[in-house]
């Protein structure tokens, strides 16, 4: 092969490599801040999890698995884990089903739909602080509007202390979380519903399909990718959220409404034990990682939306 041909081949190779690498150069402005803002805290947290790291105590050193021993020895660990699962499953399920219902109701045009849509999507715009206070007062055992209604309707003889009773305190926080998140599912599923071609439904009508058949054979398969990704995201968000719990109950009474993130927050910023909080964080990451893998596997995400 002549020298010129070799040079041309090398030049083509370099050009090809440059073209191949081009997308990565474009992604750099996003990747760099991500690595700095997420990567560093991520790695630092992993390191802290294996250290005796108490804010205010200059004596910081690696203590092997001591934080994890403390974590599993924590008398409330399994209670908190159970609370976390109930909180997440209850919240995601409530938000999904009510959000789906909302989206289906808003799919067809009706007079005033725009105004109605704005009102029902409003909770998504509220801060958790406002929602927390709103629900805390609504469920106040003595003055709350909920107990007032229950008493007036003769449903109960004595209004329960919602925020001071084990089980009920977690229920109230879950209800508040459901209320905040319905619009998210509503918006996302509504967008997916509106993207389904109308002729598919027309064809189904001609074939004599009933409403349920159309829903399960057309609607659900079309919106499945949206459902999977929204459930995945929302689960991770809810699992990580602690603001509502801190505002409404501070995890009380006696940790009965405490979840892993709110406990991490308490350990880190009330007890200043960052090492133990880091261990809890690592545990949370493992749980969420496993969840993501299992969820994507069983939901068959790869094939979702293929027709």
């Amino acid at each position: 092969m002549s020298k010129r041909a070799n040079d041309e081949k090398r030049a083509m190779g370099a050009l090809s490599r440059r073209r191949k690498n081009m997308p990565y150069y474009f992604m750099l402005p996003v990747l760099l801040p991500l690595v700095l803002l997420f990567g560093y805290p991520l790695i630092k947290s992993c390191i802290i999890a294996f250290q005796n790291y108490k804010l205010g105590n200059p004596d910081i050193y690696f203590n092997d698995f001591e934080n994890f021993r403390k974590l599993f020895a924590d008398r409330d660990f399994f209670l908190i884990l159970k609370n976390s699962l109930i909180y997440v499953i209850g919240s995601v399920a409530g938000q999904f089903f009510l959000g789906l219902g909302l989206a289906l109701a808003l799919k067809k045009k009706f007079p005033g739909r725009g105004i109605y849509q704005s009102i029902v999507f409003l909770p998504w715009a509220f801060s958790a602080f406002v929602v927390g206070l709103l629900f805390r007062w609504s469920f106040n055992g003595e003055y709350g509007v909920v107990n007032d209604l229950l008493l007036k309707l003769n449903i109960v003889e004595k209004g329960p202390a919602w925020l001071g009773t084990p089980g009920l305190s977690l229920l109230v926080v879950t209800i508040a979380m459901i209320w905040i998140g319905i619009p998210f599912f509503g918006i996302m599923i509504l967008a997916a519903l509106q993207s389904i071609p109308n002729d598919v439904f027309e064809a189904a009508d001609i074939d004599g399909c009933g409403i349920f058949r159309k829903f399960f054979s057309i609607t659900v398969p079309y919106i499945k990718p949206t459902i999977i990704i929204t459930i995945l995201l929302r689960t991770i968000w809810i699992f990580n959220s602690f603001d509502l719990i801190i505002i409404m109950t501070e995890g009380g009474p006696a940790n009965y409404s405490q979840t892993l993130p709110s406990y991490i927050y308490t350990k880190a910023f009330s007890a200043y034990d960052f090492g133990l909080a880091g261990a809890f964080g690592l545990m949370l990451m493992l749980i969420l990682g496993m969840y993501a893998v299992v969820f994507l596997k069983i939901s068959n995400y790869e094939e979702a939306g293929d027709f």
Binding site: S45, N57, I236, G252, P253, A254, Y256, A268, F274, A292
Partner: protein
């Protein structure tokens, strides 16, 4: 599929762990909030005076519009007199302990900071504040006996030095619904006082659930152990440990006292929700008319004055012990002023503290915050004398039976205070554990920490209760 899995893993990992990793960032916003506060409260540097160029940073841990206005005014006067400028910074009380910890750990504490007695263990052990004993010198004589014998003596006993100047004395009392008592024919006389059993009896009588009247604002959440501990110390002579560090609150008398105290909740003399109440809820529900008594500091008095009619409330002294007739009352500085070890101008910082402690300035400040003044010559003020709203508090300070119980200890027990101390009591109130288990869990952990502290600090002696006379 593999890429999606990896992405999902990365996403969940990042979201989960940044809760911790970015946590410092959350606290790290101190600089930002301080800066905001700085802009609102800053005062320009003076070029003409002797100390021109010196600018001090002052951190207020309990900011309010009133306090900021007071401080800005007094800093202006200070600048006129000394030429030293002061920058007012603030941090909300709920975040204060966290922020100070973060600032201390990063060597960024302001020159002068207001602190709380509960933080002193950490502040002194971390050497984030400096001793003030030499600065004070003979001027200690200008301060009230209570400041000298109770406040500073406690600091010397615990930390070996005087580290702070109180901004006023905080004395506990029992706020009572006067109108409810009159309606029920209950006669109360602050000068005569009462015992704990008499107090519990009044709480019971004031409770009428049908009328939504409960006898007591019960503290069930963070800080729940504090008033209970003082009650238990009625049976230990005011001490927490013996000379070897063995805890004293596990006696039969203390166990009985533990049950009596918690019976206030268990017997329905407090709303069920109060298992989650902290300071704010206790005060709100007393002022709002749900509860009939409230044990708290004199700082609550301005709130009562503002929100209640004069014939609706009164203050009784803390009940005396059934065992020895002594008045066990936790006397504290509300907040106290200290100089950080990060200060480059500690002498100027001391000048500022001295200026704030001057009778005129101190009395004005105490009026705002519901405190008892720290200088001797301020005690003649009619607000604090007989007939004044603070008389019950000043009266207790002069009671020969007054005993200030020993604290929990000089070691760091923040994690217990934020967790196990109230959680164990809550579990007992909910019926999850028995009273002995709850008390033993708290007491045993305290004993372990105290003994460890004594081992690590062999030169330290165990703090004893302080008596006035």
């Amino acid at each position: 599929m593999r890429k999606k899995k990896i992405m999902a893993l990365m996403l969940s990992a990042a979201l989960a762990l940044t809760t911790i990793g970015c946590g410092g960032g959350n606290n790290g916003t101190t600089g930002e909030s301080s800066s905001d506060a700085t802009q609102s409260g800053s005062q320009t540097a003076d070029a003409g005076a002797e100390q021109s160029g010196v600018t001090l940073r002052f951190l207020d841990v309990s900011p309010s519009e009133t306090r900021q206005k007071y401080y800005e005014g007094v800093f202006e006067k200070f600048k006129e007199e000394t030429g030293i400028s002061v920058v007012y910074e603030s941090v909300p009380w709920d975040d204060a302990a966290n922020k100070i910890t973060v600032l201390g750990a990063s060597d960024q504490l302001p020159d002068v900071l207001t602190t709380h007695s509960g933080w002193l263990g950490q502040l002194t052990s971390s050497e984030w504040i400096i001793p003030l004993t030499d600065y004070l010198g003979d001027s200690t004589e200008d301060y009230t006996v209570a400041v000298n014998k109770l406040f500073w003596q406690s600091e010397i006993d615990r930390f070996g030095d005087i580290y702070t100047i109180p901004d006023g004395m905080m004395v506990k009392g029992i706020f009572v619904r006067k109108d409810w008592c009159e309606e029920l024919g209950i006669e109360l006389d602050p000068a005569k006082g009462w015992t704990y059993d008499e107090y519990f009896e009044v709480v019971e009588k004031l409770t009428d659930v049908e009328k939504k009247h409960y006898g007591v604002s019960y503290r069930g959440a963070r800080g729940a152990f504090d008033p209970l501990m003082t009650y238990l110390q009625n049976y230990t002579g005011g001490n927490t440990y013996d000379s070897e560090g063995n805890i004293l609150i596990k006696s039969d008398e203390c166990r009985e006292a533990f049950q009596k105290w918690t019976d206030l909740y268990r017997n329905g003399y407090a709303p069920e929700d109060s298992i989650n109440w902290g300071f704010t809820e206790m005060v709100d529900n007393f002022v709002g008319g749900l509860t009939g008594t409230l044990m708290n500091d004199s700082e609550v008095a301005p709130t009562c004055m503002e929100n209640m009619e004069d014939d609706q409330w009164m203050v009784m002294p803390v009940p005396k012990s059934e065992k020895d007739g002594k008045l066990y009352n936790l006397i504290n500085g509300s907040y106290s002023l200290s100089i950080s070890s990060d200060s480059e101008n500690p002498d100027a910082a001391w000048q500022l503290i001295e200026f704030l402690a001057r009778t005129e300035n101190s009395s004005n400040y105490c009026r705002l915050s519901g405190l008892i003044p720290i200088k001797k010559d301020a005690a003649e003020d009619e607000l604090y004398g007989e007939g004044g709203p603070y008389y019950t508090f000043t009266m207790q300070l002069n009671d020969p039976d007054l005993v200030v119980p020993a604290t929990i200890g000089a070691f760091d027990y923040t994690d217990m205070h934020q967790g196990v101390m109230h959680e164990e009591i809550q579990k007992y109130l909910l019926g999850d554990i028995d009273a002995d288990t709850a008390l033993d869990t708290i007491a045993d952990e305290l004993e372990i920490r105290m003994k460890k502290y004594l081992e690590e600090h062999p030169e330290t002696s165990v703090e004893k209760a302080l008596v006035m006379q």
